[in-house]
Symmetry: C3
Subunit: 320 residues, 3 copies
């Protein structure tokens, strides 16, 4: 997909009369190539703005002069809202169009499975009834996809993965820009989900596709039922994520992180290698690895135990 910069500006309602360019996609300031459009949404990213290689950037007037030479400022009072409108132009056009996948040797695929276009399935993979595999999906060898799994367009999985029934891979991340009168404008989610080898995904678990980049699930990670993983999360290798856990968008888990049942993290955090969060624990800040955490907000489990004990003494009317 490709648009001229002027065409984009016209469609999203930004005035621009300078030099035209061809734009092939949207990206963050840090990752944008000279063929991509970017945006400045928060002052946190001013340093990225000053170094971006993007073709053009949606930006408030006050920050426009900080752009590197040669990068075109597209001045707007609402860069995030304009970005949202631009994502619609680059969104995958979902349709029921179907074509036979390229299938390796030894696969067993139920005749009710529906495929989009350009799907590749590795050898000895088994796919059961009612599952849906979207456009451009690539599945490795020796995978087992139980009934009624949905894998949206553009996602991929490595070898030896197991998907349990009702799992949804690649649904849209939850991203909206907001108008001044309180409406929410969809940021179409242009990334995908990339899953490593030997990953198991539990029944009715949902993993959202990335907004611009991808959501990544490391090899050897085992995810239980009804887990929710937000857009652009990066889950390390060999993590254990127990049932009903929620990991908010853009959070990174290191390797061998353990998330107990019904635990959670806020978005944009880093959870270090070999960290363990007890059941129901909720991380609101980044956490060092090789430690055990509990409570809300997450704290060292020993501190949490003292807190619980103190609270219990208090409730029983004893001096704390």
């Amino acid at each position: 997909m490709s648009y001229s910069l002027k065409e984009i500006c016209k469609k999203i309602g930004v005035e621009y009369s300078g030099e035209d360019r061809s734009v092939t996609g949207l990206n963050t300031l840090a990752d944008a190539t000279p063929e991509e459009l970017s945006f400045l949404h928060s002052e946190k990213y001013l340093r990225d703005l000053e170094r971006t290689r993007a073709a053009a950037v949606l930006v408030e007037e006050r920050f426009a002069e900080r752009l590197p030479e040669g990068v075109i400022p597209l001045v707007t009072e609402e860069p995030y809202l304009k970005l949202a409108l631009a994502t619609a132009l680059f969104a995958h056009r979902v349709s029921p169009a179907s074509e036979p996948p390229v299938v390796g040797e030894g696969c067993e695929i139920d005749p009710t499975v529906r495929f989009g276009r350009n799907v590749k399935i590795g050898s000895n993979t088994v796919i059961l009834a009612g599952s849906y595999i979207g456009d451009d999906v690539v599945i490795g060898e020796n995978c087992l996809i139980h009934p009624n799994v949905t894998i949206y367009h553009g996602c991929s999985a490595g070898n030896g993965c197991i998907f349990h029934s009702g799992a949804v891979i690649g649904s849209d991340g939850y991203g909206f820009a907001h108008t001044r009168d309180g409406r929410h404008v969809k940021i179409h989610q242009l990334g995908a989900v990339r899953i490593g080898d030997e990953v198991e995904i539990g029944a009715n678990t949902t993993i959202d596709r990335g907004a611009l980049g991808d959501t990544l699930i490391g090899s050897g990670t085992k995810i239980d039922n009804q887990v929710q993983i937000g857009h652009n999360c990066i889950i390390g290798e060999n993590c254990l994520i127990v049932a009903q856990t929620g990991i908010a968008g853009s959070t990174r888990l290191g390797r061998n992180v353990v998330m107990g049942g019904q635990s959670a993290t806020a978005g944009h955090l880093e959870i270090g290698d070999f960290a363990t969060l007890a059941a129901r624990c909720a991380a609101t800040k980044s956490l060092e690895g090789h430690k055990v955490y509990a409570g809300v907000p997450a704290m060292d489990i020993r501190l949490w135990r003292r807190q619980q004990a103190a609270l219990m003494r208090l409730a029983k009317g004893k001096r704390s």
Copy 2:
């Protein structure tokens, strides 16, 4: 559907030998028409009892005399249990019967999609593989229904809605009457789910149909993955409901309410316009609008922060 009052009484085991009437449905005391049967379940509704226009009311003997003239008392020691039995008579008869829907121009519908009877789909709506659209469902224009969505009979959605995979709309609300020996008798859920325009519903989210009236989702509301909305909730316009949130039955959200991830409300509450509940917050009482809440039970977020700080001092052995 219509029954004579005597027929109903015979089937649910209530003695009645007076004048017969035709009954076309069940309803609350406040909303019942002169063709409907109602019930008094709790003394909270005595004022409604005194004003009801129902044809007849299942009621304990001690309250029967408070009924308005012309409304027939059906005296029973267990009005709620008898109501439950009566709901079975009016329940929709679910079956695999299918007929081609009435479809607007420009729709794209996967051939594996199954329709009940009397379905209407607006123009330019796309429905992907494995989805099920029950009897009498009405879907508006420009909607996108991803694979493996289920919409039960009688529900409706406006224009521009997006349903992600695994979403279930119109499953039965969780309602039971209880026998003296501890068994639970199903209250068949006779309402539906009505969804406005531009609503997005996340993967594996569930929205239950109403018990008597409907569950309502206001236009512009965006619901994330794995959210549970109970029967007879009324969700205002432009709300944001983040993943794994649960909203118990009959709760009303105003407009632009934000429910953070894994948050919750108890049932029968009112959450005011522009209220924000932080992640994991749980409302046990109604909450004023235009405020930010956190904690369990929900409190002003500043108070919650003080509580957390006090608790931390306590755990660390400092004087509070």
Copy 3:
């Protein structure tokens, strides 16, 4: 399925050169028959070891001498990891193979429903579009299976059960052995799910199959939406389990237990008859019956109220 002991040892990498035997399955020390292989995973089970009737036991050298006479010790430094490898040998081979089920009178089954082999459906049961019923499943009479339900191989349900859309019955329990370098080896789940009569299972609820024995759901129990029940749980009769609750593996609920919305139990607990856990309550220890609990960890609800009150005084700066 049956293997010789030497064949198993060769495949899982355990040295054994003694007498050969035929092994038909895997089981716990307490339940193993003389045709089954067992394992000692934790010193907690030493008493079971001393009484086991198993054909052979995977065991560390230091405990091998405690085996009863005639039971063969299979000495290994990693008995749990070897067990995991052995489960793969006995796992059901999932495939898309389908054959028409044996169906009672008066059933209505949508033509898109997919059946494995050897399925039995009782009379007057209705199964809607897109549901999947695996090999060897037995469903009773007068059941209603809504669209897009998945029931894995070997599971069963009694009469009068209702399954809502997206429910997944019999997905693999979350069980792994761990290697020294931090990888997780699947313990194939060899049990099933057995559901009694008049059970209702909510939309997108997941119930995992047992690891060795079965997961059991007692008659009359009503389960709301998005509930997760782990492997080998035993749920008593007439329980009420409200939405988004999670019950970890091997926990037993007595009869008429009530689990409020978003509540939870840890694994391997006993919750007594008629216990009520309030919404969001999380049991970390076994709980006596006939009491009401709240909080995290679960405590008597009156104590929890005092705790909340003390905490609120503290936050407001009053003397506790």
